[in-house]
């Protein structure tokens, strides 16, 4: 059941992305930015976290979940550190993911050669 919920909710996020690609002029980069910013907004409004609790990875894996993570991080940091938390919360929350993506990209780029398409 957990898996079905993750599949359907995650699938719907991606289907929505495909609708945006097919029916609007939005480039993939704009879509990614929109998802993250929307995730921050929905997280701030308290809408996204219940969805994560419902669908697990189905809601946390799409990039909107990354936005929600930022919103959650800021909320905690402001509660803990006050004013400075405004600036530390977001990056602290996403530090693991960003550092991993960065290091993986670096290693892969050093190891592999790009292929002809």
């Amino acid at each position: 059941m957990e898996y079905l919920k993750a599949f359907v909710v995650g699938g719907l996020f991606c289907a929505l992305g495909q609708v945006l690609i097919d029916y609007t002029k939005l480039t993939p980069a704009r879509i990614l930015v929109s998802y993250v910013v929307a995730g921050v907004a929905l997280g701030a409004l308290g809408i996204y976290q219940p969805l994560v609790e419902f669908a697990g990875a189905g809601a946390s894996v799409p990039l909107a979940g990354f936005g929600n993570l930022l919103a959650g991080g800021v909320k905690e940091a402001v509660a803990r550190e006050g004013f400075l938390g405004i600036f530390t919360g977001g990056l602290t929350a996403c530090a693991g993911g960003v550092a991993a993506a960065l290091c993986c990209a670096l290693v892969m780029a050093l190891v592999f050669r790009p292929r002809e398409k």
Binding site: A6, Q18, T27, A29, V33, G56, A57, V61, V74, A101
Partner: protein, 144 residues
């Protein structure tokens, strides 16, 4: 991925006649990636990790897997069919960093690899963090 490639992929994907195929494919492939994430999450929870740590384990595993598949040249092949299904999940973010890093290595490891890695990921981080700072500011003002 370069801008031209992105434009090309976008153009390919935006032929409206193909939507009957594109949208279900995006749903299925994106759903499959999230299900894989859920598998890792359940395994992490079963291993006794906390909810937050389990979520991090999911992100890190998917990011590493997507980066490796990009390095092997497989991610782009899957993405050709999966469209947004491989773009919207965190794997798409990982691919968007690894792909230009490889592509632009030829322009040097500092201003090529190091800088171009952020063509897509940079804006995502900039606007994501900016939005989170706005939210933080609102939270802070609300506490005064």
């Amino acid at each position: 991925m370069t801008d031209q490639e992105y434009a090309k992929r976008n153009q390919l994907a935006s032929a409206p006649t193909k939507s009957w195929k594109n949208i279900p494919l995006a749903f299925l492939s994106g759903g499959a990636i999230c299900t894989a994430g859920e598998l890792i999450r359940q395994a992490a929870l079963a291993a006794g990790l906390e909810e937050k740590t389990a979520a991090l384990a999911v992100s890190l595993s998917l990011i590493a897997a997507a980066s490796l598949l990009t390095g092997l040249g497989l991610y782009d092949k899957i993405a050709k069919h999966a469209g947004a299904g491989t773009l919207v999940p965190i794997t798409g973010f990982s691919n968007a960093m690894t792909s230009p890093a490889m592509e632009f290595k030829s322009e040097g490891i500092i201003l090529g690899l190091g800088a171009k890695m952020f063509v897509i990921a940079g804006p995502v981080i900039v606007y994501g963090i900016a939005a989170s700072v706005v939210y933080g500011l609102i939270l802070w003002l609300a506490r005064l």
